[in-house]
Symmetry: C2
């Protein structure tokens, strides 16, 4: 007999888990909605060509592709490449579908469109702890606003959502791809080498300045450029003295990075400060934050929380992508929460709108009596679970408590009034 497990790297959710996930999603949805983001939905599938157009970076290789329908043996024999056999694929992120959606529906959307998408994506990654082949992403995006206000609104909404989940104290590491590019230019890395250099710089947290320099030398970068970068890396303070702002940012960049990039970052800080009120700014400039996706064109950011060592989400500007669908560029910036990473950090008390009760009944209670009890309780606003009196009553009641039930009553044949006792 075949396995009854879900496919490799994918999960079933039992009632208590499913309820927990939905509660967390409801909080996120509520906060994003309050901040003026409108929820949309796209199909799980997109055209194969769209998913393999070079926009998705490494994720393209991880796509689950859909076999064309009605292939006969001849068509199979003629195929020499998966592209001959697949016409659709499952989305590996929510950004490519959003860009396609916006290009399709632009005329029906506000001129500045704030979208929220809460939906699964699929990647055929090698399964490992905490990494799944189907997982939920929560993305907010602002399309049509190239100003730093857009980043400010995204960051504010995300921090508000994390606050509401009991994850206050998050910090946003922020950088700009253009600043990275200008910096590499200053040190003399030629343009065609920079994507590779960024891949190495992205390892700075793990291998340190000397590791970065060693890897760059190994890659064949010019010694002058590597030495310049290495010296600069070594000169940076662990914790900048200034608060987030122009002085701090300038102190962490080599001379020669254009003002407009610094001004944009400063504007984001001001926007977040005005929305979040006084107090410590949750932004930290990180001149060596890279982020993997090739489509970022400006600001990039990641969210860190003191309780965990990994990022809880991130995002950035991708002003060029919608133009690939629409033919004309539209500014766009997005922030994605790693839902699977935060759901296990969150301890939300179950907020039952209704009392939830278990009726434990004897075998001989007539069905009509039992269902009349149940119907009366539902009509009064309760959530009701029926359980035939089991040998192991304790186990049954424990499971009910885990599923959010708060009290129980036993029901005998002919009994009219029920007496409820609390679970636990």
């Amino acid at each position: 007999m075949a396995t009854v497990n879900p496919p490799r790297g994918m999960r079933d959710f039992l009632p208590a888990d499913k309820a927990r996930r939905e509660r967390v999603l409801a909080v996120i949805r509520d906060r994003y909605r309050a901040h003026g983001f409108d929820e949309i939905e796209t199909p799980v599938m997109e055209e194969y060509g769209r998913l393999h157009a070079g926009i998705g970076g490494d994720n393209e290789k991880l796509a689950f592709n859909i076999l064309k329908r009605g292939l006969d043996e001849q068509a199979l024999q003629a195929a020499s490449d998966p592209a001959d056999l697949a016409d659709l694929g499952l989305r590996y992120d929510l950004t490519v579908p959003l860009s396609r959606f916006y290009a399709s529906h632009r005329a029906e959307l506000p001129s500045v469109f704030r979208s929220v998408q809460i939906a699964p994506v699929w990647r055929a990654e090698r399964p490992q702890k905490g990494r799944y082949r189907q997982f939920v992403q929560c993305d907010i995006d602002i399309i049509g606003d190239g100003s730093s206000r857009a980043e400010g609104e995204l960051i504010t909404a995300t921090l508000d959502a994390l606050d509401a989940l009991g994850l206050a104290g998050a910090e946003v590491r922020i950088n700009d791809r253009r600043a990275l590019d200008a910096m590499l230019d200053v040190f003399g890395f030629p343009e065609q080498d920079r994507p590779g250099v960024l891949i190495t710089i992205d390892k700075l947290d793990k291998i340190g300045p000397s590791g970065v320099a060693a890897e760059l030398r190994e890659r064949g970068s010019a010694e002058d450029a590597v030495a310049g970068l290495e010296g600069f890396l070594g000169s940076l303070p662990e914790d900048p003295a200034d608060p987030f702002g122009a002085a701090q940012i300038r102190s962490m960049l080599p001379a020669g990075v254009p003002d407009e990039i610094v001004d944009h970052l400063v504007g984001i800080g001001e926007a977040v400060a005005s929305a979040r009120g006084e107090g410590a700014t949750p932004l930290r400039f990180d001149p060596f934050l890279v982020r993997g996706m090739g489509y970022y064109t400006g600001t990039i950011f990641e969210i860190a929380h003191p309780s965990v060592g990994y990022s809880l989400g991130g995002g950035g500007r991708y002003d060029g992508m919608i133009g690939r669908f629409l033919g004309s560029d539209v500014p766009a910036v997005g922030f994605s929460i790693g839902f699977e990473r935060i759901v296990d950090l969150v301890t939300l008390a179950e907020r039952e709108a209704a009392p939830a009760v278990v009726l434990v009944h004897d075998r001989d209670v007539p069905v009509a009596e039992l269902l009349a009890h149940k119907a009366r309780l539902i009509a009064d606003g309760s959530r009701v679970r029926l359980e035939r009196r089991p040998r192991n009553l304790k186990g049954v009641l424990e499971r009910a408590a885990a599923d959010g039930y708060a009290s129980f009553a036993t029901v005998a044949a002919g009994q009219e009034d029920l007496e409820f006792k609390p679970l636990d």
Copy 2:
């Protein structure tokens, strides 16, 4: 440039549509939850072999199948059948995944498990009006209870959900596959012919008794059997005189159908009556209701509503299916609401938990001022959309009203107090 439309037969949902769908789903979820059904979730994919094991009937042919990852040219050349290339597929219903889920997690679930699943399924049907290749199903199932109480609970919960959606007055047509089988036996149709005979009987509504008889003769059924069935079909009253119960059911069946089948149907009626209270029973016995799926083993039902000519959902007993996963039979019965069919019938007023306001601002309002206004309103419990003052203010406000916003204020630079006016 490739199309920016969603894949053929699939839909994007814009904010107003998405919000409407979520409101309807929230009502359904709330009612099913009140009736003690616990929500679960399974991955969208199942193993190819599971989806093509003969359980899914015609839907198996409509499955979207997933290309194996990492196929090289040699593997492609060696393939002579889609099964060589696909290892997974998208689910075409929620019943096959539920059975697999139950077999996998039985020990962690209540002895009588009441599940609710609200999730998309995929079928590569020829697209036509009202028929989509990705659509949402809302299924409730009771596993582990072979008694008529299970059908009674399913029908009661479904009617309660429809009532809550403003679709009171629904009627449940009900039959039993065993009654159909016994009837065909009485008239002398041999067992091996009966599946084909049922396909013809299923057309009774469309082609009438004489059409059924003609088609059966054409299929080569024995004249005695056809004549017996035709005479019986002609003898049935349009509307039975008796209320739903043993007398009505017996009056609509030939002699020779075993009592236990009639008793089970009568028990369902009693269960529904005790839960729904007095008044007209919403059940109608239909001895020629067939329903397509091959896996049904007992009760089958469909829900009809006076406002439309098509069924809004249906279901039945499939006591044998879980055994194919688990190795030992477990009774199971399910009721599926056709969500896409009802969502357009429902007119639910948007019940905003929070006031929703639009801030129409001049271009020169400083970002910090604007975001401070927004933050203050959010902190007070509002949902806030920002709109730069457009040329066509009316159009912008109309769209906001459609998206559920209730009032707006204009914001000028330096303005402290906002004055809200209702939209519409």
